[in-house]
């Protein structure tokens, strides 16, 4: 499959997610790029190999289009009135970075379970004493990406 087609699929996925806050169905992406769903499925496989998408076991449902999550998580990010879910704290900031828009993050401290609210501007988050805890070594992140 030509790389340009994979790029078109990637852009369709990410733009749809950015506009709606939800990762799109494969059929929606196929319609957007004017291709057969099977061709999009093959593009998904390539994008998964490039670690741009992470798919559910059915190989057609998008679990993660990092930094966006395809399922609800504890990390909610509101940007321009649209609510997104992030895969982790890193990705919560990543959503604001990807959209180049300020946002508001609602999450929780995993140690105290205290709710967290963080305003993120174009130049980064507001000052805080919070720490990001990365539990898994970088070489193993994609061994079990949901756990990571």
């Amino acid at each position: 499959m030509p790389t340009d087609f994979n790029t078109s699929v990637k852009l369709a996925v990410y733009r749809s997610t950015a506009e709606s806050g939800q990762t799109p169905l494969l059929e929606t992406v196929a319609k957007e790029v004017g291709a057969d769903p099977e061709a999009v499925r093959l593009a998904y496989r390539a994008l998964r190999a490039d670690r741009v998408l992470f798919l559910e076991e059915d190989h057609v449902t998008i679990r993660m289009a990092p930094p966006f999550s395809g399922v609800p998580t504890q990390h909610r990010v509101t940007v321009d009135g649209i609510e997104y879910y992030a895969n982790c704290a890193w990705d919560a900031l990543g959503i604001c970075a990807a959209l180049h828009r300020p946002g508001l993050v609602h999450s929780r401290c995993e140690q105290s379970l205290e709710p967290l609210r963080l305003s993120v501007g174009l130049d980064g988050p507001e000052p805080s004493s919070w720490l990001f805890h990365c539990l898994v070594p970088a070489a193993q992140w994609w061994d079990d990406l949901v756990f990571t």
């Binding site: 733009r15 741009v52 704290a89 890193w90 990543g94 970075a97 919070w130 070594p137």
Partner: protein, 50 residues
């Protein structure tokens, strides 16, 4: 949090653009080193984590 914002921008700042991609392993290590994240834990090619 400054380190995390740097990672967020570096990883995802161009994610909605056609040419965007996940950083390669060598690039990842360079990015981590630029914000003082060093050692096997932050080495995407490491096979041990002492």
């Amino acid at each position: 949090m400054d380190q995390l914002w740097h990672l967020a921008v570096t990883w995802y700042g161009t994610r909605l653009e056609a040419e965007s991609r996940r950083p390669a392993a060598a690039e990842m290590r360079s990015i981590f080193e630029s914000i003082a994240l060093e050692g096997d834990f932050w080495d995407p090619r490491a096979d041990s984590f002492g």
